[in-house]
Amino acid sequence: MSARRVEQRLRSARAPGELDAANRSADVVRAGFTAREPRPAARGLRGRITVAVAIALLAAALVLSPAGAKVAHFVGDAFDGPGVRHAKPALVSLPARGRLLVDSRAGSWIVQHDGSKRLLGPFHDPTWSPHGLFVAAVRGRELLAIDPKGNVRWSLARDGAVAMPAWSRDGFRIAYRSGGALRVVAGDGTGDRLVARRTEAVRPAWRPGTRHLVAFLASQQVRLVDADSGRVRWSTTVFNTGGQLEWAPDGRTLVVAGPLGLRLLDARGHVVRTLESPPGWLLRNIAVSPHGDSLALVRQEAGSGRSEVLRMRLGGRRSAPQRLFTGAGRIDEVEWSPDARWLLLAWRDANQWLFVRSSAARGLRAYAGIAAAFDPRHPHAAGFPAAAGWCCSR
């Protein structure tokens, strides 16, 4: 094949999806351009030299000073500008039915399908009850149950700091951490008891389809305990833990996720699959789909700071994960809509929420100014709220 022929054919060849890729990239590049701070043009050669010297001195200062690393990071962020350029300036509505629970500096909120929202109060770390009738949340050293109008139904005070409440699937139990211990209380606030003394700082996870079996992490083990009797059903050693525990809705698979990867355990605690993060990538968040057939996960590359959102099958025939989204900066959480058709991506570094279709179908809705919407006193990334659960299509 002659060089000329190679040239002719390659010059006429096209890459797939050029137009769509260009449109997506144009948004990102415009955002990056807008976020940069243009410098006044230097005058003449002397001006250029002066500017160059100033840049060199600044660069040296950034490298040499102890605070230089933080400043350099900030400077890079000022030019990066992640986010969808044409995001709507405010949250208008959710793309699917249900209600979204949000944890901001100002407190816990419920966002309705039509975009309206209500501040429940100065509560944090909220979690839905199984049918969305109540919210369990934390206020200092108190565990509280709150109705959707913000009325506190009951509260329970503890000596140690309270965190990470998790409501059982039947609604009759709430597991939570107090100090380093795991405790369980009845759904009406009575019968508080100790389950395990020293546990890791991971939200406990109730196994679906069983009475009151709850999984938690302690001493590099995943343990499944009967919360009523205290009997340990099984314990499995897992390394590099810290992160999340999530059960599939059928109770047959437990996903144990940490920064370095995840493990799938069956109902008896046997590790059936291990997936490690690629070198340089950290797993940030996972979410099992409402139907239990898929897992959405967010990971971030340490070097570039770029984040990816992937979807992988749970069970059935194994296949390569599908990449749903990639963007600059940190994405904190991913949440499934109750109908499993959409994923909410909480894009902290862009101060945006993205709703992307969970399937191969194209669809993206972007909303900017999220931090200010939930706490006007902290309108930037530092005040970005946490998405805490998308509940209940009815």
């Binding site: 094949m1 390659l10 890459a15 144009a26 243009p38 490690e276 690629p278 570039s304 390569a320």
Partner: protein, 174 residues
């Protein structure tokens, strides 16, 4: 676009003109995306590479010397990152087994060109010189400067690449 017009465009972009940036993007993004795609043979990765290269260019805009042409500067970033990605992709498949960084590159629907498919079978380094030479139109000397290679190495890789492409397509070598 004449070198003078390009310098004027860069000057305007450096001064903050969004229209100038749009024009730069319009002129240079698609060739960058195609070049990345022909090297990595993965549309998603190619989009990331071209996008990151442009973002890198935007971040460095004030420091860019307008006396240099913009295209080769951008394309060097694109091709080097594409080579890195292609090399890292092979390594990831060995290390990770079933969990890839992204979906494995599959023939994209609509791609019927045997030559592009054959190009994907070459090692990343040879793909890159083919793309720089026959897609982006650089001379072997310019390619040598872009990639930091001896000119003889570039010529050798081009020669081997053409032979391999001919073999893959069942044609006589030139």
């Amino acid at each position: 676009m004449s070198p003078r017009a390009e310098r004027a465009l860069l000057r305007e972009a450096q001064a903050g003109s969004a229209e100038a940036l749009e024009e730069l993007f319009r002129r240079f993004w698609t060739p960058a995306y195609r070049a990345a795609y022909f090297v990595v043979h993965d549309a998603g990765a190619a989009e990331d590479i071209a996008q990151e290269a442009f973002l890198s260019a935007v971040r460095s805009l004030e420091r860019f010397d307008r006396r240099r042409p913009f295209g080769p500067w951008l394309n060097r970033i694109v091709v080097n990152r594409a080579i890195d990605h292609a090399r890292a992709g092979a390594l990831r498949r060995e290390v990770l087994g079933e969990w890839e960084g992204s979906s494995p590159p599959e023939p994209d629907p609509g791609e019927h060109d045997e030559l592009v498919a054959a190009l994907a079978t070459l090692p990343p380094d040879r793909r890159a010189v083919v793309v720089l030479r026959y897609v982006l139109g650089y001379t072997p000397g310019e390619i040598a400067k872009l990639l930091g290679l001896p000119r003889g190495t570039v010529n050798s890789r081009l020669r081997r690449a053409l032979d391999a492409l001919a073999g893959a397509l069942g044609e006589d070598a030139p």
